[in-house]
Subunit: 117 residues, 2 copies
Amino acid sequence: MTETCQDDELRAVLRGLLTTIGDKWTLAVVATLVGGAQRFTAIQRETDGISHRMLAKTLRDLERDGLVSRTAHAETPPRVEYALTPLGRTLLDPVDGLIRWVDEHGQAVLRNRATAG
Amino acid sequence: MTETCQDDELRAVLRGLLTTIGDKWTLAVVATLVGGAQRFTAIQRETDGISHRMLAKTLRDLERDGLVSRTAHAETPPRVEYALTPLGRTLLDPVDGLIRWVDEHGQAVLRNRATAG
DNA sequence: CCGCATCCAGATCGATACTG
DNA sequence: CAGTATCGATCTGGATGCGG
């Protein structure tokens, strides 16, 4: 495994990661899970305007990447809880950096957008 | 201007920003511009596989947000140079945090994807 | 050389309905 | 309650051609 290959792969992962967390709902869902494990319906209620389908997709993607864990309890009625994995929690740090940037410079971006149309 | 309104707007900006920098090519273009101002064609040559149209769109979006400046020189042949603005450079910091995260945990994500995908 | 408009194929998303 | 499949509307991205 060469370094260039790794570099290429890392770039791909970076883009994929940005695409993932940049997806319309991912961040909101993650924000909902910061406080602790949540059930499917609870997440949907917390996340304003998300459709059933998109929540399912978002959670599956996050689970696929190992950022969110899915625990199905064999009960009636069925109960499934989602939570951030340790790996998922490590992501909160750099994301927080982005949030701070928006907090600091977001207004400037808005102003630019308003000016430039 | 209420705080809740600002909070909503900031969330919108955050999502918009993540969408922007998560867009397929934005990061590669920004990476090209880190070293200094570049011409349209030079950026296209540096950024492997990007189409004319997408580069134009990417640059326009970045310019709209005030992250990239566009300087047209009135010459023949026409020459237009793009460069990161000071605001654009402040964004490099949090993005670097993300890159470090990928550097550190990207392999784990890939492993998870391979297992679950 | 630079940028935009048009056209077209593929991806995405929301609503709905159906299974366990 | 949790999750998947289908369908239709919308959006995106690439190729091409034209104007500055």
